[in-house]
């Protein structure tokens, strides 16, 4: 049971971290180099597709992490690694109330009358949150793998 949960945890973590890294390393620098209007329009389109799978995988990581901790209560090094990793995943979820309002404001911006300075400022803040999510997600994945290897 624990192995199955860890399997789902690591796979979902991989989808999340691999996708977030692609977004932070490949997509955002490419779109930032484009005119603000194109950047906003393309990012909106990509985001609508990302939202079809990333929130679910993002939710499954802490849920399976908590399930592993509850089922296997032997507090050894593997358990502690899993607990810290799950803590990082929950921290990432806890950031959403700060992150989502920025996304909403960006989505509400009008393409035809775009305030480029305001867009650049908000876009930079969103990118910083994405980087933070990537770092926390990477920590979670790394610790889940360590926990799996220590068992």
């Amino acid at each position: 049971m624990t192995d199955s949960l860890l399997f789902v945890n690591i796979l979902c973590g991989s989808v999340l971290v691999g996708g977030s890294f692609f977004s932070v390393w490949v997509l955002r620098p490419t779109l930032r180099a484009m005119p603000a209007r194109d950047d906003l329009e393309l990012f909106r389109r990509v985001s609508s597709r990302v939202e079809q799978y990333m929130p679910i995988t993002g939710l499954l990581v802490p849920v399976t992490g908590i399930a592993v901790l509850l089922i296997d209560r032997d507090v050894d090094a593997a358990w502690v690694a899993m607990a810290v990793g799950t803590g990082l995943a929950l921290l990432s979820v806890a950031l959403l109330p700060f992150d989502l309002p920025i996304a909403k404001r960006l989505n509400a911006m009008q393409l035809d009358a775009l305030d480029e300075v305001g867009y650049a400022r908000l876009s930079e803040r969103r990118d910083r949150f994405h980087l933070l999510h990537l770092l926390l997600g990477s920590g979670t994945l790394a610790l889940s793998i360590v926990s799996a290897l220590l068992r």
Binding site: S14, G19, L42
Partner: protein, 152 residues
């Protein structure tokens, strides 16, 4: 040593599989919806950055799998599952170099100013097909490597 190799193997496998899925699911459909010249432009720009890390990650995942098999010579289920993951990784690399790379080169060599739209659509279809095939190999390998890590 085997644990350290497995750690690197899974992290690199995650970068490849997660990045490929993001590309196939989120980015490519948007690129295909754009007018061909704009789609080609976005594809060329993103490809340049993808090439800076994805081939290296795939290569390291394969090399660490080989190293695990060489270091841990106990031919049990874990060894065979790791070997299965390595086979899928090698298939992924083979498809990448044999079919995918020439198609990518074709797309990167296309000019946005005098773009043959029919040719662009044909080559893009092939690019998408090979990436879906590679995503299956990448995820298959990652699953097998994860199972091996859990069973060890």
């Amino acid at each position: 040593v085997v644990d350290a190799l497995r750690f690197v193997n899974l992290v690199c496998g995650a970068l490849v599989a997660g990045g490929t899925f993001f590309s196939i699911w989120a980015l490519r459909p948007v690129i295909r919806e754009l007018p061909p010249a704009e789609g080609l432009d976005l594809h060329q720009r993103t490809s340049q950055r993808v090439e800076k890390y994805m081939p290296l990650s795939g290569l390291v995942a394969g090399l660490t799998a080989i190293a695990i098999l060489v270091v841990d010579r106990d031919l049990d289920a874990v060894w065979w599952i790791t070997a299965g993951g390595l086979c899928l990784t090698l298939l992924n690399i083979t498809v990448a170099f044999t079919f995918d790379l020439p198609v990518t080169k074709q797309l990167n060599a296309m000019s946005r100013t005098d773009l043959d739209q029919a040719e662009y659509n044909r080559v893009s279809d092939r690019w998408d097909f090979f990436h879906i095939v590679r995503a299956f190999f990448g995820y298959g390998a990652l699953m097998l490597f994860t199972i091996a890590a859990l069973l060890e």
